[in-house]
């Protein structure tokens, strides 16, 4: 019976050591990754046709900003018209 109790105690110690080790690893990781991290650019998000953003996984620090990729230029609405105007004529290859 005493042997069984000793084994249980040893297991508890193992669990505690593992938990402490994990906590320390995560704490140091967060600490160093925050120092090395470069600020994410918040301006000059130029429209680009490339659909392949550079992916960076961060642990700790502020969350990465969302980058929007577009293939068509942003178009400002013309004079707040709701419906498309009827074209007066059309351009096309010579006909």
């Amino acid at each position: 019976m005493q042997n069984k109790s000793n084994f249980k105690k040893r297991d508890d110690i193992k669990v505690i050591i593992t938990a402490v080790a994990l906590s320390l690893t995560l704490a140091f990781w967060n600490l160093f990754s925050t120092v090395a991290q470069k600020p994410v650019p918040t301006t000059n998000l130029e429209p680009t046709v490339s659909p392949m953003p550079q992916v960076r996984i961060l642990l700790g620090g502020p969350p990465p900003k969302t980058t929007i990729f577009v293939s068509k230029p942003n178009v400002a609405p013309k004079r707040n018209q709701q419906r498309a105007p009827q074209p007066i004529t059309k351009t096309r290859s010579s006909k």
């Binding site: 293939s71 068509k72 230029p73 942003n74 178009v75 400002a76 609405p77 013309k78 004079r79 018209q81 498309a84 105007p85 009827q86 074209p87 007066i88 004529t89 059309k90 351009t91 096309r92 290859s93 010579s94 006909k95």
Partner: protein, 306 residues
Amino acid sequence: MINKLEFKAMGCHMFAALDSPEEHSLPLEQVPGWFEAWEQSLSRFRETSELTQFNHSAGIPIQVSETLWDVLQVALESERLSFGLVTPAILDALVTAGYDRTFDQLTQTSSYLRMDRCASMGFGDEVFLDESTRTVCLPTGMHLDFGGVAKGWAADQAARKLSVFGQALVNAGGDIAISGPQSSGEGWPIGITDPFDSEANLEILIIEQGGVATSGRDYRRWQRDGMWQHHIIDPRMGMPAQTDVLTATVIAPSTVEAEMAAKVALISGSEAGLAWIESNPVLAGMLVLEDGQRVYSERISDYLWS
């Protein structure tokens, strides 16, 4: 009030609109006459035209009309700006490709006369010009076709002449000149035709002034010896351009510039063509590729309605 007129000239459908405070159809009624006079001077399909006579006189100095002189100057400038990609010295290449009669006649016949003559290329460096007497001498073997340059020039001229009576828009077979904004202050809404569905518009442009033109190989094409041919000649090859662009639409300060730039974009292909449009700050454009994909230049957002 916008008065409108439709007619046929230069083998194309023409449209003219004049924005004037009252019903003012008299100026518009003159437009077909202007086009008829220009066509008589500039058409390569009329045996009696000045251009045909001029082409028969290669090697001999000829005094030309003001119209032919003006269009020659425009063609020279287009060749210079396009680094030789847009040149009128492509007539022999067009004929070799089978475009030896009007397009209406071409689509009604099945076999064409083969011309063995080599395509003569280059223009600006070889032609002799004397401005004081409007005398021109083409080198022997060179023959000119003004094609789209003539249509763009005619649209610009007609819009300019109509602008005396009010702001005008002239569409010469898809090459459109706009003299200024409508009396309401708004630009003119212009559709870009879908090359896969001629009834549909891919986009609507709002243009206050300048020119817009579309160059394409979707309509003026024909079969020769089982191969599809079209009318946009690549002067580097002396044959119809091999390109991934189906149609190119360009907006520019004038119609002749838009027409020239659209041809450059089409001949150059989508990548180089779009880069060339982007590199020129007065141009904006949209390309439709063979697979239906559309490619836009950055500056076209200034003109797109949405």
